[in-house]
């Protein structure tokens, strides 16, 4: 039993807690992560030589961040940490890895995928201009590199990250030209009962909003993006206010995002069953309450399974490890399962509240001009997608991909996937679940031609 190889993919909060639980059971898990340093995106660490304290980087979450970093450091010698390593494919019970230019096959007995999330993007005319970054990317520039994405920044989109990143930028001394939220204030009121299930989280959201107001940052709700303008880089955002008036905000950078999107490509390659999640409006891997997927020996935890945030990810990581241990024949106390499940229960309700407060603006897809770029990798437009839907008979996303190349570019649909689904569904006049999902394909990220196979 001691020889069983358990692999954890991802060294964020979920992966860290999973590895910690496996090590506590006497296993020596392999932890694979693309980044050089542990922490994931939320608790991303600054490189050696940077001196800001955790409070400056993570705010209210400094204690959590320190705890997760400390837990990972305490595993030194107890786990096999493989940083800067990409899992580019999974088949026949083995991971296919790339580290530098070296490729390797790594069979596993159990696999815990803690792959996290990326920003969920709804394109807007001009979003490929230099100076437009995802909200999460804007935050990474500040957190990991002490940089702002520009001299005058507009944050546009929706979701809690919109306010958090704007607040962090203003606090760090950046000029925030405006916060433009597509969700109306009434949506927040409607979501209050669900959000109140986690009062501390709700209080933080109110705090960021209040601090932005105190710093004189203009916050507009219920807006509609029109375009990001500029010749060789961002010069302004054009938007309509809640009353329908067109307005223009000068800036040289835009942070754009609408909540998060689970990173599920590895679960797909591991042949896990997916089902449409009406809250996320995304096909997500099906799991039981402890993180077991339909593929025996494959488990999911954290935002890569469903978006519930870092605190839930820590719990889910540990829970998935418990499930894997039990399935491998280890004894895990029933009380441990019970307490983790109970702690996770309110997270789902809070998550629903966030989706009510900051809804994904699916209806923007219908408003795109034919010339608006949906796929930034290969400049595939809304018109291209409508053409494959209406003139070439693509009934779902994979056919649309084959005919238009949407989702086939270097990002493999990570940036355009959710919006492409909405444009296709709108063109066909069907609910978005009917156009399906882009199937994951290996390699999930481009590989260098000069790759040496070492194992």
């Amino acid at each position: 039993m001691a020889d069983r190889r358990v692999v954890v993919v991802g060294a964020g909060p979920a992966g860290t807690r999973a590895a910690e639980r496996l090590a506590a059971a006497g296993l020596r898990p392999v932890v694979i992560d693309e980044a050089a340093l542990n922490g994931g995106q939320i608790y991303r660490r600054q490189p050696a030589g940077f001196t800001r304290p955790a409070e400056a980087l993570y705010g209210f979450e400094a204690g959590r961040a320190r705890a997760v970093h400390g837990a990972f450091e305490a595993l030194s010698g107890l786990i096999e940490h493989r940083p800067q390593t990409l899992v580019w494919h999974i088949y026949d019970g083995a991971l296919h890895l790339l580290c530098g230019t070296k490729a390797e096959r790594l069979p596993y007995d159990a696999l815990i995928l803690a792959t996290g999330a990326t920003d969920r993007i709804m394109p807007v005319r001009g979003w490929t201009l230099p100076g437009v970054y995802s909200l999460g990317g804007s935050q990474i520039a500040l957190k990991a590199q002490a940089c702002a994405i520009g001299a005058e920044v507009v944050f546009m989109g929706s979701g809690p990250l919109l306010y958090l990143v704007a607040y962090q930028y203003a606090k760090a001394g950046a000029t925030v030209a405006a916060v433009l939220d597509t969700s109306p204030f009434s949506a927040s009121v409607k979501a209050l009962p669900a959000l109140a299930t986690r009062p501390a989280m709700l209080a933080k959201g109110i705090y960021y909003t209040a601090r932005l107001a105190l710093r004189g940052v203009a916050v507009h709700r219920g807006i509609t993006p029109v375009a990001i303008e500029g010749d060789d880089g961002v010069a302004a955002v054009v938007w309509r206010d809640a009353a329908g008036r067109e307005r223009r905000t000068a800036c040289d950078a835009v942070g754009l995002g609408y909540g998060l999107r689970s990173e599920t490509q590895l679960a797909d390659l591991a042949r896990c069953d997916f089902a449409f999640d009406p809250i996320a409006r995304q096909y997500l891997p099906v799991t039981d309450q402890d993180g077991r997927t339909s593929t025996p020996g494959v488990y999911l935890a954290g935002d890569g399974a469903r978006i519930q945030g870092a605190d839930a990810a820590e719990l889910a990581g540990r829970l998935a490890a418990c499930a894997a241990l039990r399935d491998l024949g280890h004894s895990v106390p029933a009380a441990e399962f019970a307490s983790l499940r109970a702690a996770l229960a309110p997270m789902a309700q809070f998550r629903e509240g966030l989706d009510t407060a900051f809804p994904w603006p699916a209806h923007f897809a219908a408003g795109f001009a034919d010339s608006d770029v949906v796929c930034r990798c290969e400049c595939i437009t809304a018109g291209d997608l409508r053409e494959v839907a209406l003139e070439k008979g693509a009934p779902e996303l994979n056919r649309a991909k084959a005919l238009s190349r949407v989702g086939m570019g270097r990002c493999q649909g990570r940036m355009c996937g959710p919006a492409a689904a909405e444009v296709l569904a709108d063109a066909l006049g069907v609910p978005v679940e009917q156009v399906g999902r882009l199937r994951g394909q290996g390699p999930v990220k481009p590989l260098p031609i000069a790759t040496e196979i070492v194992g």
Binding site: E34, A35, A36, Q41, Q46, P47, A48, G49, F50, T51, R52, T118, D119, T128, L129, P130, G131, V132, Y133, S134, G136, G137, S138, I140, A141, L142, A144, Q145, A146, C147, A148, I149, G150, A151, A172, G173, A174, D232, G233, D252, A253, E263, R376, C377, E378, C379, R410, C411, R414, M415, K445, P446, P448
Partner: protein, 100 residues
């Protein structure tokens, strides 16, 4: 013209790179993306329209921040640490095909 603005952590050791042949200064610990965009406005040409690109996600997901070394090696700027002496190309074809 630079794109990114440094808001702190400027006491690190300086490093020297070239961008399209021009010498620039950055700081040890910079990602290649930050080292470049603290000195210039974009990272590469788009292959599919006339525009320039300067990255997007900063978390190794979108692959929008590819740059090339003068030797023709492709680097993902957001997840590569800048190093003293790097010679980076952001315009045109980075690699040479020798006629033989």
């Amino acid at each position: 013209m630079s794109r990114f603005r440094r808001l702190g952590e400027t006491g690190r050791a300086p490093i020297r790179l070239t961008i399209d042949g021009a010498e620039v200064w950055a700081l040890a610990g910079d990602t290649l993306m930050v080292a470049l965009l603290a000195n210039t406005a974009a990272l590469r040409d788009s292959e599919f329209d006339a525009g320039r690109r300067a990255g997007f996600c900063l978390m190794a997901a979108c692959q929008d921040c590819w740059v090339w070394t003068e030797e023709g090696e492709r680097l993902r700027a957001c997840s590569t640490e800048a190093a003293d002496g790097m010679r980076i190309v952001t315009r045109g074809t980075a690699w040479r095909i020798d006629a033989s």
